[in-house]
């Protein structure tokens, strides 16, 4: 089989998967009486009309990038972290608590401490699932999902009780939100008049660092080896259990940091539904970006666009914003299917045979010594 055929096969499979995903999403849109093409067009072009829309895309791309970086570390290490949502929430709680408790600290020290606290809390929450998997063989997908539900309850409990803004209690409105963070714990705004904050630079810097970590250090090589072929890695002296726990610590840390950055950069206090879906969307971003930082950054921008666009369709076309969940679901299904079909050598052979038969209706014989074999 020629390289050209292989590329064509991959492109065809990818296109078929994309079309299938759009078809399933269109069915859902048709069911609620919306026009699929108009809706997709609004989602994809609506946010690009003005500067504010573009800045909002980037605002959403920041937590998506951070979560996806963590998810990609865990997936590459052979442990599926579905718990980013919960890890973000504990990160938000911890960074808010630290920023409020240490408000008297001088400015330059407070912000890093708050961000670190968020990352540490997320790391513990994720590491717990990693430890459960390494020590007690608890399926990490189930345990991280359960930890999501537990974190969600912890979040509402703390925001309604111990951490609620005293002002809310005084006025009696009782909105579940924390006190506003001191200014020293805020991330700077990059463009006046928008919510775009310096967390964007942090996310880009960390993307580069994750690439260095995974592909340019022994530590990263060990993680990837443990994920790629567990037994071989163990035979080569990698402590697989340890690398599972470390990968989950890192993955949780990134998700916790995403939560802390979201507080420090956008909302400046812990409010309900801050993490709304970033944890799950981050998984899709990681897969869409090929579990590689160079893919994750553009993928995060694309999904940021989708999130902002879905908010717009809610206002303009009356399509509920959780249409994004449907899109994310079909995109996951399409990506994992297409990935397997592309890498299935037998599928390639079958396709090649079919193609030959179609191209030469009379013959049906294979071309002599398959001309392009070996040459790129």
């Amino acid at each position: 089989m020629t390289t050209r055929f292989r590329t064509a096969y991959a492109v065809a499979v990818g296109a078929a998967a994309a079309l299938a995903a759009l078809a399933v999403a269109s069915l859902v849109l048709l069911a609620i009486g919306a026009r699929p093409l108009t809706t997709f067009a609004t989602i994809l072009t609506g946010p690009l009309q003005d500067l504010f829309g573009i800045s909002e895309i980037l605002v959403r791309a920041v937590p998506l990038t951070l979560v996806a970086l963590g998810v990609s570390i865990s997936f590459r290490s052979g442990i599926l972290n579905i718990g980013a949502e919960g890890q973000m929430q504990v990160g938000i709680l911890a960074s808010t608590a630290v920023a409020l408790a240490l408000r008297s600290l001088p400015g330059p020290a407070l912000l890093p401490l708050a961000l670190l606290a968020g990352a540490a809390a997320g790391a513990l929450w994720g590491g717990l699932a990693g430890w459960l998997r390494a020590r007690l063989e608890v399926n990490e997908i189930l345990s991280t999902v359960m930890l999501n539900y537990i974190a969600a309850q912890l979040y509402t409990f703390l925001l309604r009780g111990p951490m609620i803004d005293p002002a809310e209690l005084m006025t009696g409105s009782g909105t579940p939100q924390s006190q506003r963070l001191p200014r020293a714990a805020w991330l700077d705004r990059l463009v006046p008049g928008t919510r775009l904050h310096s967390g964007l630079l942090l996310a880009l810097a960390l993307s580069f660092l994750v690439w260095l970590l995974l592909w340019r250090t022994t530590f990263g090589f060990r993680l990837r080896a443990a994920g790629a072929e567990r037994r071989a890695a163990r035979y080569a002296g990698v402590q697989v259990e340890r690398s599972l726990v470390l990968a989950m610590l890192l993955a949780g840390g990134f998700a916790g940091l995403a939560g802390a950055v979201e507080v420090a950069g956008v909302h400046h206090r812990a409010i309900e539904a801050i993490s709304a879906g970033y944890g799950f969307a981050g998984i899709v971003v990681a897969l869409f970006g090929g579990l590689h930082p160079a893919g994750i950054v553009p993928a995060a921008a694309f999904f940021g666009l989708m999130l902002v666009g879905a908010d717009m369709t809610q206002r303009s076309a009356g399509v509920p914003a959780n249409m994004v969940l449907v899109l994310e679901g079909v995109i996951i299904l399409a990506i994992v299917s297409a990935g397997m079909v592309m890498n299935n050598p037998y599928g390639q052979e079958r396709a090649a045979r079919l193609l030959r038969r179609l191209l030469r209706p009379g013959g049906g014989e294979a071309p002599p010594a398959s001309a392009g074999e070996g040459s790129p």
Partner: protein, 315 residues
């Protein structure tokens, strides 16, 4: 007092177990055939919404008595369709099952939410299914209230336990399912069509999960909300591990969880001071504990669980 509370907990816990029981029995067929379906949660969400829909639309009309049956039929149908979709992705395309399951969960959950918000939006109650006390048996003191004063679906769900056991252990289809999940290559050699049996198991499991979700909206909550299922699909998957892939073990597990849930409600009703959120956390924490304790049982599981099969690929 204690007896009164025990009575209430048991009488509540038995119907609470139905959704978990049906979904977990369905998941048992999936896993026995070698497919790990984490999309159960999404299937249950769709089932819960579609079961609710006819009762909502037909309420007050002449067709209202038929609404619950139509709802369950829709729930089963949607579950079967989503099961078939999952089979396409994991059996035909051989996609990794864990992450594909999360995709199916998002698809089902998201779709139910979108359609619900578009057509209904708020909390609206439905009449649900009336209780049908079993004549005679329901008058037994204590036991009658606990076991025989529920809606008919509860009795049917518990009849499904022996039915599933018969299907799995005493029919040739059940044998094929177990063969395909244990050693697909041998099954293939014997002329069993591995992919076809897996499709059938996923369709059956999906339909059962759909009905389980339908029970939640139609009989238990008597309304629908986005997060009505609240992780029960994932708990059902965990119950299959806990129940060691047997109908009886799964029933025991489902009862354990529903009794814990009923106990939590009883504690709140009794006015014992305990933050509500921590009470809600309990079942989820219990899942993790149960999975940690049941880790030895993994060896009893279907040995081809989670492994895609392709006749042409030699591993």
């Amino acid at each position: 007092m204690i007896l009164r509370m025990l009575h209430d907990v048991l009488a509540l816990g038995v119907p609470f177990s139905v959704a978990l029981l049906l979904a977990a029995l369905g998941e048992m067929f999936n896993q026995r055939a070698g497919v790990f379906n984490l999309g159960c949660e999404g299937i249950m969400s769709m089932g819960a919404f579609l079961a609710f829909l006819p009762s909502h639309l037909l309420s007050g009309g002449p067709l209202a008595p038929w609404a619950p049956s139509a709802g369950f039929a829709l729930a089963a149908l949607s579950g079967a369709l989503l099961g078939a979709l999952f089979a396409l992705v994991t059996v035909t395309f051989r996609a990794p099952q864990g992450i594909a399951g999360i995709g199916l969960q998002m698809l089902g959950w998201g779709t139910a939410g979108v359609v619900f918000r578009h057509f209904i939006g708020g909390v609206t109650g439905i009449p649900g299914v009336a209780a049908w006390p079993v004549p005679g048996l329901s008058r037994i003191p204590f036991l009658g209230d606990v076991l025989f004063r529920h809606d008919p679906v509860v009795y049917l769900a518990y009849l499904a336990v022996p039915a599933c056991a018969l299907l799995l252990y005493r029919t040739s289809w059940g044998l094929r399912v177990r063969a395909v999940g244990t050693y697909p290559r041998a099954a293939d050699t014997m002329g069993i069509r591995v992919a076809r049996v897996r499709y059938q198991a996923l369709v059956l499991g999906g339909a059962m999960a759909g009905v389980g979700g339908g029970y939640l909206s139609l009989c238990q909550a008597r309304m629908f909300a986005d997060d009505l299922v609240a992780g029960r699909g994932f708990i059902a998957v965990a119950l299959v591990y806990f129940g060691r892939w047997t109908p009886l073990g799964i029933t025991f597990g489902a009862l354990l969880f529903s009794l814990a849930q009923a106990l939590q409600l009883a504690i709140q009703v009794a006015g014992i001071k305990f933050p509500y959120e921590f009470a809600v956390m309990l079942p989820y924490a219990l899942v993790i504990a149960v999975l940690a304790l049941a880790r030895r049982s993994r060896m009893l599981g279907p040995s081809a669980l989670g492994k895609p099969y392709d006749r042409e690929i030699r591993v």
